[in-house]
């Protein structure tokens, strides 16, 4: 069983502060981390490796510094890592990113499962999973909180559904986007951290390796302007004795509904 996990490297939110009045972002320490939700996808894959001996492949698109994210994935337990990098990829929006990742996944081939994080912490777009599934023509289950069964080429998963969950069954190969509450990702083992940089390789593919042309990579979305969202006004403050305040709050909530 081969599981491919596309991951995204993002700027560590602990390293910058947002100054709303000046409408500026101050970067105190430029550190990069794996998008936390993508680690949930990787952890799901690694548990399939622990339980079923799956081969786990991590894949990422970005600048050369993304190499660190992939080595961290190797340290956590991934068997192989692929970095898709090049100037032509720099302007990729979600549609183009899905195209590039999709090409790379086709090139790796012979896969059974693609696991993505449900949402990236920086853009919050939640597009890569669905777009990738469409590109590859795979069935998809989004917002999966647990893989609950795997047999005879079929996988059962619990996906978030309203207040609870829905249990779905998909034939493999398939794509799942993994919800943030699915698991607590493991720490990488100390020896694997050393090996990830000293012993193991990250394979790098560029435009030509993926058989793509620059024309195919024109983004659908163009960035016109960046702006801070309008400041939200404070809500209504309910005061008074607890039972009265609770009654008033309940009344307000009913009206909203």
């Amino acid at each position: 069983m081969r599981v491919i996990v596309p991951i995204k490297q993002i700027l560590d939110p602990a390293g910058f502060t947002v100054h709303r009045r000046l409408e500026r972002v101050f970067i105190n320490q430029e550190n990069y981390i794996i998008n936390p939700n993508d680690k949930n996808a990787l952890e799901t894959a690694l548990r399939l490796k622990d339980a079923h001996g799956a081969e786990v492949i991590a894949l990422s698109l970005g600048e050369s510094r993304v190499d660190d994210a992939l080595r961290e994935a190797l340290a956590m337990g991934a068997d192989q890592a692929f970095l898709l990098t090049g100037e032509a990829f720099a302007e990729a929006d979600a549609a183009v990113a899905a195209l590039i990742l999709g090409q790379a996944i086709e090139k790796i081939g012979d896969y059974d499962l693609i696991l993505t994080g449900q949402r990236a912490l920086d853009t919050g777009a939640s597009q890569i999973g669905p777009r990738l599934a469409e590109y590859l023509g795979l069935p998809q289950a989004l917002g999966v909180r647990a893989v609950s069964g795997l047999d005879n080429g079929k996988l059962r998963a619990k996906r978030n559904w309203k207040e609870g969950y829905a249990e779905v069954e998909v034939g493999l190969p398939a794509l799942l986007s993994i919800a943030p509450q699915a698991n607590a990702p493991r720490y990488p083992h100390g020896a694997r951290i050393m090996n990830a940089y000293r012993e193991w390789e990250v394979t790098t593919w560029d435009l030509a390796d993926l058989g793509l042309t620059e024309e195919e990579l024109s983004p659908l979305i163009g960035l016109k302007r960046k702006a801070f969202p309008p400041e939200r006004t404070l809500g209504e403050l309910i005061t008074g004795a607890p039972d009265e305040a609770a009654r008033e709050l309940a009344q307000l909530l009913k009206e909203i509904q």
Partner: protein, 388 residues
């Protein structure tokens, strides 16, 4: 000269930092109050290779050398000096003695399970009348066929009450003393005649256990002689040499925690209508802490580089220990002063940090012994031999 950490060490530091914050932090108060060794943290640490960081991977370690081990000690001490001292006594001296002078068979049998954290190690030297004067030990080892029979009482043994494998120093020829008369042994707690004595009621690092080890006709197989017969004093001193570096790294972590807490407190604590960070008296204390910490950091990691590149490091490692413990002394004192009454309260960690700090100037060679080591290394090339 490149002063940046290689990438593998940056990721390793991040892992250890997250581990310490998530796994060790929640237990720090409890283990101090209950005098309890955090075995659950040790089990989790073992799964990540953190009980054998400096040793090669072929012996079950991480292969991260002293650089990696110093990072571990720094990050653990930032959060929990008790947890750090348990890991430190196990790795930095207990297992280290076997790594440095053990045979391949001994490394296979003892170092591997220690490095993997399946077994806990300890380093057993001190006696009632032999502390700084380590060569004055009285514990005797006498040959009996294929065994040595050990008799004596060892005091102040970190992990002594729960270690599985102990590196022990004993006298094999009283007429020769430190020069040929002392031999190191690997002792298992299951060996007949091995017993745990009184447990110390300590001022600090109360989440670690310090116990007496009593050897009463303890039968140790002759293949458990560690290093050369009669050269045990050298094995033990070599081990302490390297151990001093990581103790300096631990002090670096503790001092950094003092600085961080002091900055945060000075930003938020208001007196006379302004945060106390605006007061020059506070600024100077914080500036002095930061300066000493930076100097210590350079000393520690340069010394780690000396060790990992196979260069002499004895003098520098002693400097790490004495300077580190005294920087930590000054930093925790200043941090307590900056925090005022809050720092003195048991509700906040500074009070515990103050108690935990004091031992760093005593254990594994007092500050006075470190200065002797430094001075003797400075005078030896001048033809002057210094003895204690």
């Amino acid at each position: 000269m490149d002063f940046s950490f290689p990438k593998e060490y940056q990721l390793f530091r991040r892992m250890v930092h997250e581990f310490a914050e998530s796994e060790a932090r929640p237990l720090t108060k409890e283990i101090d109050e209950q005098d309890r060794v955090p075995f659950e943290t040790l089990e989790k640490a073992a799964k990540l290779g953190l009980m054998g960081v400096p040793f090669p991977q072929k012996y079950g370690g991480c292969g991260a050398g002293e650089m990696g081990y110093c990072i571990l000690m720094e990050e653990l001490n930032k959060v929990c000096p008790s947890t750090a001292v348990v890991v430190g006594a196990h790795t930095g001296i207990g297992a280290m003695a076997i790594y440095m002078d053990g045979t391949e068979e001994q490394k296979e049998k003892y170092l591997k399970p220690l490095a993997k954290g399946e077994k806990i190690g300890a380093y057993v030297l001190t006696e009632a009348d032999a502390g700084s004067d380590a060569a004055a030990i009285k514990t005797r080892a006498v040959r009996d066929g294929n065994y040595y029979i050990l008799n004596g009482t060892k005091t102040f043994n970190t992990n002594g009450g729960h270690a599985d494998i102990l590196s022990v120093m004993a006298v094999t020829d009283p007429s020769l003393g430190a020069r040929g008369g002392i031999t190191a042994f690997i002792v298992e707690k299951e060996f007949p005649g091995f017993r745990i004595g009184r447990e110390e009621n300590k001022m600090g690092i109360r989440g670690s256990q310090t116990a007496e080890v009593i050897l009463e006709d303890c039968r140790v197989p002759k293949e458990n002689v560690l290093g050369q017969f009669g050269a045990g004093f050298i094995t033990f001193m070599k081990t302490l040499d390297i151990g001093r570096l990581s103790l300096g790294a631990g002090c670096l972590g503790g001092a950094d925690a003092c600085l961080e807490a002091s900055i945060q407190w000075a930003k938020t604590r208001q007196q006379f209508g302004v945060p106390i960070a605006h007061k020059q008296s506070i600024q100077w204390m914080i500036a002095d802490m930061a300066t000493e910490i930076e100097a210590l950091r350079s000393l520690v990691y340069r010394t780690a580089w000396l060790v990992d590149t196979g260069q002499p490091f004895t003098k520098e490692a002693a400097m790490c220990k004495v300077y580190g413990s005294e920087v930590l002394h000054r930093c925790i004192d200043k941090a307590l002063q900056i925090h005022g009454g809050t720092g003195y309260s048991r509700d906040f960690w500074i009070e515990r940090g103050f108690r935990d700090q004091r031992i760093t100037e005593i254990f594994e060679g007092t500050s006075e012994i470190q200065r002797i080591v430094i001075a003797s290394n400075l005078f030896r090339p001048e033809g002057v031999r210094i003895s204690a």
